[in-house]
Each structure stands twice: as structure tokens, then as C-alpha cells.
Amino acid sequence: MIELQHLKKQYDSATPLEDVSVTINQGDVIAVIGPSGTGKSTLLRCLNLLETPTSGHILVDGEDITSPRCDLNRVRRKLGMVFQSFNLYEHLTVVENCMLAQTKLLHRSHRKAYEKAMELLRSVGMENQAMRYPSQLSGGQKQRVAIARTLATDPDIILFDEPTSALDPLTVDEVETVIAKLSRQGRTMMIVTHSMDFARRVSNRVFYMDQGGIYEDGTPEQIFEHPQKELTRRFINRLSTLDMLITEENHDLEEEINRIHTFCTVKGLSPHRIVNACSVYEETLSIFYNYFTKGSKTLHYVFVYNAAEDLLTCTLTPYTSTKWEEVATKVLTSLETKLITHSIKRYWEDKTEEGNGFSSVYEI
């Protein structure tokens, strides 16, 4: 369906793609993973020529779209794209976003385009927001609309450029669910992502990108369980994540401590660090539950172990309906005194846009 022949992309300062040759088939759901700066997004953006390749050819259904004679605007209709930053048309309502290309490019009647748009919005759970403007939506909602907009023109393949990277952890799920649903419907897709877990769940083919090209190409089982090549192995083993979303309803202290304990043990950490990891969790949890007595509260813990640097970090992002600023100082001092005894480095990251104030990061 799409064939890349010796694709090369060179910038003044870097060459993210040296020589890429690969064929994408109908029904492929490809997750593109790899370290930062290895040309994952560049590859995706080259496919619909948002970036012009330095050399090489891209054949879409046998037609060379890099040739100057090619009607690029027609070919681009076959390739839908979903962006990290949504890029919805801010001056149009949600439903109009999904209709514009239908009426102006495919010359469908308003009525028909409207029915199609509403059907797609229904499938992503946004039909109630059809007459709102993008600025009135949350990140997850925007991305779902963006997916509906892309589907509206019936593309043969959908390119996802880090679709969940700009979302807060609570809404990642709603977007991932939509993408997973598309995957089950047998759509051809290509997804650049940093979330290994999601990549594994949704894809039937994985590109590990490194060293200026597709370093290893295989099934999810192959790449994640038995990587054949050295760099892939290192990358897969390097970053391990334990992701815990604690709400009042599903809270079970004993089980959570167990999960942390297991995670650390598998990574071969010393007993001292395992204890520290558990106490960071317990103490922060108790402090938050003490201070936020009113309203609902959700705590998002992410433990990341970087094997290459032997670094274990815990990132805590609180979500609460209580005004965070009011108790912030009290919580901060409290955390300070408790954790100092464990000689745990702690720093704050401002995450005003995503969470309800900030995230705190602990190096254990």
C-alpha cells in the first residue's frame, strides 16, 4: 500500500533518517517506538510530505508522491493525520471541523457531511459537544474530535503523531480506547508513541527506530519479549514503568505496596531502596489524605526505573477538586520534614496546565 524506497531526510544540523526502505500493508497497525531524536515523527511527517524528504521515493498505491508531477493534495486525502497538539480549526464548531474537508474537498452535500460527522462524533463519544468550539474542550476531547475529523474523509491510513503526549494522565485513557477500537476495526494505522504499554496493546507490528532508520521491525511479541538486536534489547529493558492511579474507590494500600515491592525486586534493586520507594508512597499518600479531607481526590503515581543509569524515580501528580493553593504550603512543609529522614532527593515540577498545580518528583 505504501512503499518507502531509500528515504533520506537531512537537516543542517542532523540527519534523522539515513536510509529507510519499508513496505506498509493494508491492515497494519504499526507502533513506532524508540529514543528521542531518532526520526519517529520525521518518518511520519515524510509520509504525507509535511516534511520534504532529501532523497528517496514514497509510493502510495504505486504512485510516486515525491515526483513533482504528483497531485499532492489528492494523495494527502488518502493519508489522515492526527497531531500531538490536536490542531483543530479553532474558529469552527466541533461538527464543522469534521465537515469542512468533506464539503470542500470531497464535495459532499452539507446534509450528508453533517450526518457522517455526527456518526463519527458519536463513535468517539463527542456527539453532545458537536456545537461547541475547540477552545471549550479538554485535551482528551479535542483529540477525540481530531480523530473524528480525520476519519471523516475516509483515509486509507491514519498517521498518529504522539496522540497522547500532550494529554494529562486522566484523559490518556479515553483517547487510547478510541484508537484501540479503530485498531480492532482493522484500519491501517501508524502510531508514534512513547507509551510502551499502549504500543503493545494496540499494534500488530512494531518499528523500533534508531541509528537513522528502522532498526528492528517485528511483531509486538518479538520486539517486547524477544528483541533480536542489541539496541532494541537495551531500549526495551532500560525504561520500566509502574503506573498507578489511586482513587478513593479503588484504593487498597496493601495491594499497592505489593505492586511497588514486586516492581523493585524484579529490577534487582537493593532492599534499602525498596523500603524507600514504599515509604515515599505511603507517606505522601497519608499526607494528601490528611490535608484533602473534602472533595474527591485522585493521585497519580508513576515509578520509572532507568536501568542504564540505575535511576528510580517516582512522579506524583495530585488531582483534587479542593482548591490546591490553599493547603499547598502546609503539604509542602510536611512532605519536606518527613522525607528528609530518608535522604531522598525531591524536586517540584510545575505542571499547572495538566494537573491541579504541580507534580513532585522523588529520586529514590
Binding site: 504525507n48 509535511l50 493534495n73 489528492r74 494523495v75 494527502r76 486525502r77 493519508l79 489522515g80 493525520m81 497531531f83 497538539s85 490536536f86 490542531n87 483543530l88 480549526y89 479553532e90 474558529h91 469552527l92 464548531t93 461538527v95 464543522e96 465537515m99 469542512l100 474537508a101 470542500k104 474537498l105 452535500s109 452539507h110 446534509r111 450528508k112 457531511a113 453533517y114 450526518e115 456545537m131 468550539y133 481530531a146 475529523r149 480525520t150 474523509t153
Partner: protein
């Protein structure tokens, strides 16, 4: 507060009238001889060259220059100058308007009154013919008759010019003269140009089969217009050596004295309200001068509206040209915008008028519209650029990825959003444009400002013409602003009513495939 506002405005206006109404300054000195003038500040109209004659007889007098004659008397009245230089040919008229004006007996000098001719093909023919005609008129007493009718026994309410019998068989004769110079050339009833110069020119044109095309220029602008070939004749100029390098001068058809005049400080016994009524009558009612204000306002509005329309189109075209083009196109546009924003409007207009369109018969208003369109277009181009930048690259990419071409992306996605950003500054640009059009008088267009100058030139009063002019500008700008606010509201897509959107979206039938 809203109800109080009109009352406040009226109060302010009355206060201003009271403060500014012509009041005579008391002259301490008595000025009766040139000896006395020697120690005075003297107001002179720029470009006349009278300062050199003044320096000969009164070496210590301090000269102050004014652009137009109409501004000199108010300065005299307010005591900014002690004496004004005027011409014997105009003094009688001035005296009827300003009772307290007194002339110094001895003249400064006696000068010839002649016609400047451009050094070109038409000019040399006309030069011959004019000298012939002047000689003939002198011989048969026509010149004396003119002098008697327009000067010696001048009856300002009953003078007319016979403008009949113009065939134009030998072509159009473009010429300029100084406006607001009663009785030589001035706007009579309803703004019709009459005067001694006009009378003489019509006699000449009738005899030699020309059709006169008269534009109004300031005295010092006429030589430039002659050498640029914009006009063939400048009527009513004083021959001098330096100018004769660039311009031919005919034999004089009149001569006149340059005299010094001062304000004797005598106040008339009329009451405040009588004076006020008189001023209003003079400014608006006499000779239907209100028509001049209306004409001027229409001209101003015409230039402004056309410039906004063409400028907007030009700005859009520039943007599209750059969007499709490469770096070269953008560089050209940037240089153009930079040039336009750094050239004073007047200079740009004069370059267009004298140099670029110098050799073509293009109407003055068209030149002004072209000039202001370019200026407005360049500033609008820059507004679009910054507006599009504010929209961001993301939506452009999304649209291109969906398969929209560059034009569709621009008109469907970028422009509607950019409009939201640039409309407030667009509004400001239009206001500035209307204000800037007040300089078109420099290229002989009778716009609102120029018309009020003409009226001032006849009434010798500054207050009402200027206040009314300011008022009309305010009104024009106010109406334009209201209009643009509506446009602003209409172009903002987010102001659409949800029901209307829905109605538009769901119209039509679902066709079966």
C-alpha cells in the same frame, strides 16, 4: 452620564467660542512709516520672495513665513506678528473684511504680475500666444477694463466671469493658480472659481481655442508643477531670475505694490452675539460656502473609502503573492513595506504626482487614491502576516495534511482566524488613513482641509472653519468606526448564532449513493 454628554459638549464649544473668537490685540506702537516697520515682526507668505524686498527697505525687520495667506491675518490678530505683507491688489478686499486693517503708505516695492510657462512644446506655443494676447489687450484697453472691474471698482457681491464660448479645439490647457486669493482667483458663490486671473484666462482661451483645466496649488508648489510638466501655465506669478532658468515668464499683464499692513486695534461696537452671528454667516451662509465643506467632505470620504477598498485588496494580493512565492517575493514585499512606512505621506504623494504620474494625464484624486491604497495595502499586508502568525503553524499543517491546497487553507482556515486578531488594528489604520488624507491639498485636491483653507482665505477667520472641519472629521471617523465594529463582529466566526449554523449545516437532502 449619557444625557449629560451633549450638554457638556455644547458647554465646551461655547467656552471655546468665547475664548477664541477674534479679539483685537491692542497695538502699543504706532506704525505709519517703513521706519516703524523696521523694528517689527513681519508675516510673509512663503515662496513669494517678498522677504528680499523687505530686507532692502527694512533690514532689521524679522520675517516670519506662512504657508498660505489665510493664516497670516489670524496671526496678526493674535499678536504673533506686528505687520503683514500683502499686495495692493488684495488689500481692498481685505479691508472690507477686516475693518481695523491699516496699510503703511509707502509701498515696499512694485512688482510685475505675470504668467509662468513650462518649457515644453505646448509651453512655447502658449508663450508666444500669451505675449501676443497681452500686447493686444494692453493696446485695446482690455487690461485697463479688467483692472477697473476687478480692482478699482470691485463690487464683490456682483462680479462674474463669462465662461462661455470655450471650444477647446486646440486642446486642454492645464494650469494652476493660487486659490483663496480674492479678487484674483477665489471661490465665489457655491464654490465656483472666479476672479481677475480666471477672467483673463477665459478671455485668452476663448480667443485661442483652448479649454482651461485649472488646479489649485500653493504659490511655492507652482514652479515645481511647471518644471514637472504637470501644468503648462502658472497664472499670477512674479518673474524672478532664479525661476526663469526653469520657467518662462510672459510679459506682465498687471503690476501691483507690496505693502505692509497692521491691525489698528479698533474694535467695532458690535455685541458678542452679533459678531458671532456675523462669523457664522460669513463662514457658512455667504456664497453658500457650506457647499464647499460638503464637497470637501465628500472628496475626503471618497479618497479614504476607495483607498481602504483597494488597499485591502492590494494587501491580500501581496500576501498571496508572497505565500506562493519564494524568498525573493518576500524580500521585495518587505522592502516595499519598509519604504512605504518610512516615507512621509506628503512626500510619497508628491513623488507620485510630480514624478511617477508627472507625464500622464491622471486625475489628482486618482493619484491620491493610488498613493493611499499603496500605503494602506502595505500596512494591511503586515497586519495579515502578524495575524496569521498568531493563528499558528499547527492548523495550517492540519489543513494541508487533509488535502487543502494553499489558497483553501488560507481563505478557509487562516484568514477567518487572523481577521479576529487584526480587525482592531485595521480599524485604527482606517482612522489614521482618514486623518492622513488631509495632506492631499499638496497635490491640488480640494478635500475637506483644503476647502476650509479656502474659506479661511476669504473670511480671514480661523475659528469656525477649523472647528467645523474638525467636527466633520470626527463625524466621518465616528461613522467609519461604527461600521468597522460591525464588520469586526461579523467576521468573527464565533459570533455566529448556533441555530443559524445548525440550519446551514443540515440543509439539503441526504442523497442515496
Amino acid at each position: 452620564m449619557k444625557r449629560l454628554l451633549p450638554v457638556l459638549i455644547v458647554l465646551c464649544f461655547l467656552g471655546a467660542v468665547f475664548v477664541c473668537l477674534p479679539k483685537s490685540s491692542v497695538t502699543e506702537r504706532s506704525i505709519s512709516t517703513l521706519e516703524d516697520v523696521n523694528s517689527c515682526t513681519v508675516g510673509i507668505q512663503g515662496g513669494t520672495g517678498y522677504e528680499s524686498y523687505l530686507a532692502e527697505v527694512c533690514p532689521n525687520a524679522q520675517a516670519v513665513f506662512f504657508n498660505e495667506f489665510a493664516s497670516i491675518y489670524p496671526a496678526l490678530q493674535q499678536g504673533k506678528i506686528d505687520v503683514m505683507l500683502t499686495e495692493s491688489i488684495a488689500f481692498a478686499v481685505e479691508k472690507t473684511e477686516i475693518k481695523s486693517l491699516v496699510a503703511v503708505k509707502e509701498p515696499i516695492t512694485v512688482l510685475d504680475y505675470s504668467i509662468g510657462i513650462a518649457k515644453n512644446a505646448q509651453g512655447s506655443t502658449v508663450y508666444q500666444q500669451l505675449n501676443e494676447f497681452i500686447a493686444k489687450c494692453r493696446a485695446d484697453g482690455t487690461l485697463d477694463e479688467l483692472k477697473d472691474y476687478w480692482l478699482d471698482s470691485y463690487d464683490r457681491d456682483n462680479v462674474t466671469v463669462d465662461k462661455s464660448g470655450i471650444t477647446g479645439e486646440n486642446g486642454v490647457l492645464p494650469m494652476a493658480m493660487e486659490a483663496s486669493f480674492e479678487p484674483m482667483c477665489f471661490a465665489g458663490k457655491g464654490g465656483e472659481l472666479i476672479g481677475c486671473n480666471i477672467d483673463f484666462i477665459y478671455r485668452f482661451c476663448r480667443e485661442y481655442g483652448y479649454e482651461p483645466e485649472i488646479s489649485m496649488l500653493d504659490y511655492d508648489a507652482m514652479t515645481a508643477a511647471l518644471s514637472a510638466g504637470k501644468i503648462t501655465m502658472a497664472v499670477g506669478v512674479i518673474p524672478d531670475e532664479e525661476r526663469s532658468e526653469a520657467v518662462l515668464f510672459t510679459d506682465p499683464f498687471l503690476d501691483f505694490e507690496v505693502i505692509a499692513a497692521y491691525d489698528s486695534g479698533e474694535t467695532s461696537a458690535e455685541s458678542f452675539f452679533v459678531k458671532l452671528g456675523g462669523s457664522i454667516h460669513k463662514t457658512f451662509i455667504r456664497d453658500s460656502r457650506w457647499q464647499m465643506f460638503v464637497q470637501g467632505a465628500v472628496t475626503t470620504l471618497l479618497i479614504a473609502v476607495l483607498a481602504v477598498i483597494f488597499g485591502t485588496v492590494l494587501g491580500l494580493l501581496l500576501y498571496l503573492w508572497c505565500m506562493h512565492g519564494k524568498k525573493a517575493e518576500q524580500a521585495v514585499t518587505n522592502v516595499l513595506c519598509w519604504l512605504m512606512s518610512s516615507t512621509p505621506t506628503v512626500v510619497l504623494l508628491m513623488i507620485l504626482y510630480y514624478i511617477i504620474f508627472g507625464a500622464y494625464a491622471v486625475s489628482n484624486i486618482a493619484v491620491a487614491v493610488v498613493g493611499f491604497s499603496i500605503l494602506f495595502g502595505c500596512s494591511f499586508y503586515e497586519r495579515i502576516v502578524s495575524g496569521i502568525k498568531a493563528v499558528g503553524i499547527g492548523q495550517e499543517e492540519a489543513a494541508r495534511a487533509q488535502g487543502f491546497n494553499m489558497n483553501q487553507t488560507f481563505f478557509l482556515i487562516q484568514l477567518p482566524q487572523a481577521a479576529e486578531h487584526f480587525m482592531p488594528s485595521f480599524q485604527g489604520d482606517v482612522v489614521t488613513l482618514i486623518q492622513d488624507t488631509s495632506v492631499v491639498g499638496y497635490i491640488a485636491i480640494l478635500d475637506l482641509t483644503k476647502m476650509s483653507d479656502l474659506v479661511r482665505g476669504r473670511t480671514y477667520e480661523a475659528f469656525f472653519p477649523l472647528m467645523v472641519t474638525a467636527g466633520i472629521y470626527f463625524l466621518l471617523i465616528w461613522v467609519m468606526t461604527l461600521l468597522l465594529k460591525r464588520v469586526s463582529f461579523a467576521v468573527n466566526m464565533k459570533n455566529r448564532k448556533p441555530e443559524k449554523i445548525l440550519k446551514r449545516l443540515t440543509k439539503g437532502e441526504i442523497k442515496d449513493e
